[in-house]
Structures are given as structure tokens and as C-alpha cells.
Amino acid sequence: MIDEDTIAFVVLSVLTIGAALLSLETRQVVYGAIALAFSFLGIAGLFILLDATFVALFQIIVYVGAIAVLIIFTVMVVTKEVETEAKREPFKPLAIGIATIVALAVGIVASLSNLNSKYPVGPTYAAKDIGIQLTEVYYIPLIILGLILGASVVGALTLVRTDRN
């Protein structure tokens, strides 16, 4: 039952959820932003476990490479010395306990019951298959996406032109 995939899944889940919790709970805002990047990274690892390497790599490129950088940058510029004060949260242990119990109960029920996906384990799609699907089946969304991207590129070029003059 416990094979490599399960171990990897548990490790990645702990990394993802732990980093997400840390990013909410830490007093140092910059550490929180960096923990958010680690959370994104854990999600990319989960995608790799699901045999969606293409999605995982774009998760890294877009979320870690762009969005996490923007968040960290903003946090660093805005707050250097500000450390949020510890608030009094009397019901926090109770809330954590209830949440843990509910999560455990849901997990136990889900693992004990014979819940299966509606579809059996499907084939894994390589990047080439995704491309073929995009260009032959889903070409209208692709064209719309292309137009949006083209518009944003033209907008960026226009901004640069106006800045120059």
C-alpha cells in the first residue's frame, strides 16, 4: 500500500499545506511571501505526481517565476520593519482542534469507503497530445486566448513607446 508515490504525495502535501499555513501565520511578512513560493512549488510537485509534467512546469514558470516574485517584491518594498503584533486569539486551539477532527474524519471516511472516480485512470497526455487537442478540438478558445495575449503584447509595446517619447 505504501509505495513511492504515496510517500511523495504525503511529503508534497505536507510541504504545500505547511508552507501555506506558514505564509498565513508567520510574523515576518517576507518569510510568508517566500513560504507562498514554496507552496506553489509543492503544487507543481503534485502535478508531476499526476503525470501532468507540462502543467507542472508551467506552474513553476508562471507561479514561482512571476507571481511569487511579484508578491515578494511588493512585500519587500512596502514593509521592511513592520512586524504584525500577536493578536489575542482565545478560540484558536479550539478551532484548530475542530478543523483537525473534521479533516481526519473526512479523510478516514474517504479512504474507507469505496469512492472511485467516475472515469477510470486515464491515459497520460504528453505535450504533443495537448497541442493536438488544442489546435484540432479546442481551437476557438485557443484563438481567443491568442487574441488576448496579442492585445496585451501590443499594449506593452505601446506603453514602452509612450514612455520613450
Binding site: V30, F54, F73, A127, V153, L159, V160
Partner: protein
Amino acid sequence: MGEITTFEQFLVRVLKIVFWLLIILPMIILPIFYLVYVLPVEFQCGFNLLTCAVKPNWTLAIDMFNPAEMNPFVSSSFISQLGLGANSMLFKSAAFPGLTFASVLASFVIWGERKILAKMQYRVGPKYAGRLEGWLQSFADLFKLLFKEIVIPAKADLLMFIAPPFAMMALSGALLATIPIGSSTYISNSSYSLLIAIALLSFFPIVTLIAGWASNNKFSFIGAIRALYQMISYEIPLILSVLGVVILTHSLSLSVIASYQTKIWYIAPMFIGAVVFFITATAEVERIPFDIPEADSELVAGWLTEYTSMLFGVINLAVYIKLYALSAIFTLLFLGGWLGPAGVPDFVWFLIKTIIVLVIFIIPRGFFPRIRIDQLIDTGWLWLIGLAFVNVFIAFILNSTGIL
């Protein structure tokens, strides 16, 4: 050290000697062990190294050579169990196409850079370390850096200050794993290796930013912000310039892309893409004329200002390994990779081409001034993205008309 008067001093002296022996002995004994015991047994297996070394297969190993001739202490199964064979993953990632090879190459690139720039500017350059034109200069620098003190600023964020050098080294080392240097000499042969390389490159801005912030120094932070601007705005043309080659080969694997170029190197049809890739790669490794983040005449050393000793050395090494990786990717994408006349091992052709690309990366440092940050952003967003789109259209036309 003074005279030994007390027993404590004697003990300290002995412990220090033992400590240095423990550090130095592996550096001498392990290579000798490898040369004397491991390699001969490897070569006894014939050319079927893969089955012999990676997958310990008793019947195969016994069939191949006589166990009586073998060294009694080291049998081939012992070596393969240790994972030390010349085709094992450890050897590949740590030694030959991997980190050690790239580090030694990087140190010679540093020496070559100083020498070439000196010749361009009518200077002598490194001269005294090593008989031949000071070829040991980077190793001398390495030992100098090793024995220097690591100074950590009092108000620096300790964890975030120590982590970036090692993160950069790990990222550069991981970048090496995506690069096949021969048709059968590679660390990993993923079908997504180009995407993996781009994903790893997108980690560098975050590390740079953290390093500059944690130093708690205005120069560092300004340098880090400049590096961020530069890397973020040059990542887009980098990805777009690669797109043309991907359209032509229908593949994201660097080895497949390289092996498709038997008819023509892609630098001919994709010349614009090659130029854009070259410029953006120069900006990614912060070399002159794009050394705005380091700008030594304005910002001391940019985001590296507070780093001393081996922390600085590790960052420098990581940057040069990244430079090697980028020029290797340029070779694979546009110059046919390891393809060349038969007769010598294919990775020799790859290395010759890569070193030529490295020299072309180095030379602009001799005659270009530094450009301003607004010129940099304009160039990136206006000209390079536009040219990259032109390149994509050329690739699309070539592909859809069936010319290539």
C-alpha cells in the same frame, strides 16, 4: 601558533592536524582509489558499461570477465552496489557531464576571460600562477577565497543571507542535468528538458531578490531590484526566441532538437531567434553590456556587495556555470549540438562549439559600455519581443509550407 606549554594546547594542535587530514585525505585518496580500482574494472566490462555498472547483473558480470583476475577487494558488483561506476547516476551528475566538469570548465572560462580581455586592452593579465600564461589563476583565487573570513553583516537576515548562494549553486547544478552533451552522454534525457531549463531559469530572480534584501544594504537592494527588472523583462523574449525552434522540431527535448539539425543548423533559418536568444542570455547572466545589477562603478557590486569569502565564490561559480549552461543550450538549439564529422567522440564537437559560444559571450566585455536601465527595458520590451515574434512567424511559415 606559539609554543606548546600546556596539555590543552597540545590537544588543540593534534585535533587541528586531524581535522585538516580528514579534510585533505578524501581529496587525494578518493581520486587515487577511483583511478586504481574502479576504472580498470569498469573497462574490463568491455563497452557494455551500462548493463555492467548501472544494473548489477550477476550472470552478465561473471560472463564478461574472469573473477579470478579481479582485485579481491573490489569486485564489479561491489562497485555497482556503491554506485560508483562510470555510467552510474552519481558519476554522471557529480563528475563528467555534471558538476565537477562544469566547475572546472567554468574556472578555465574565468581565466580565459581575464586573459582575452587583457589582450584586447594591451595588458598582460594573470601571469604568475602556473607556468603557462598563469593558467592556474582561478584555482589560486579559489584557495584565497577559501581561507578568507566569512563576514555576515550585523543586521542581515541570517537564514536568508546564507541560503541564496547555495540555492544558486543547486539551481545551476540542476540546470546542468537538462543538457545532453552527446547523443549518449547525458545526465537525464527528459522529453521536456527545454521547458525544465526555462523553469529553472525562472527561479533565479527570486533568489537574487532574497539575497539583495537579506543583506540589509542599500546597494544590495538597489542591485537586486535592477536584477529583478532585468531578469523578468528578459525572460519573455528568451522563451519566445526558443519557440521558433520548437515549432520547427515539434519537440521540447533538447536532444531531439539537436539531432534534427543534420540537414541545416537552425542558426541559418532562425537567425533572428538566435540573436534574440544570445542577447537575452547575456542579460540573464548579467554580463556587460547588461551588467546593470552589478554596476561596479555605481553600486559597489550590486546585490553581491555584502557577500564575502566563499559565499561570494559560490555565487560567482554558480553564475559562470549558468553561463556555460546557457551557451550549451544555444549550441543545442541553433548550432546542431554534438553533430559533426565522425571520427572523434560526439561530445568533443559539442564542447568545441560551446567554447566558441562562450568566447563570443566573453568578448563584448572588452568594448561595450554599460547601458542605462531605461534603455535596457526599452530594448527588452520593444525590440526583442517584436523580433522574437517575427522569428516565430518565420518558423510558422517555414513549417506550414513544409520547407523545413
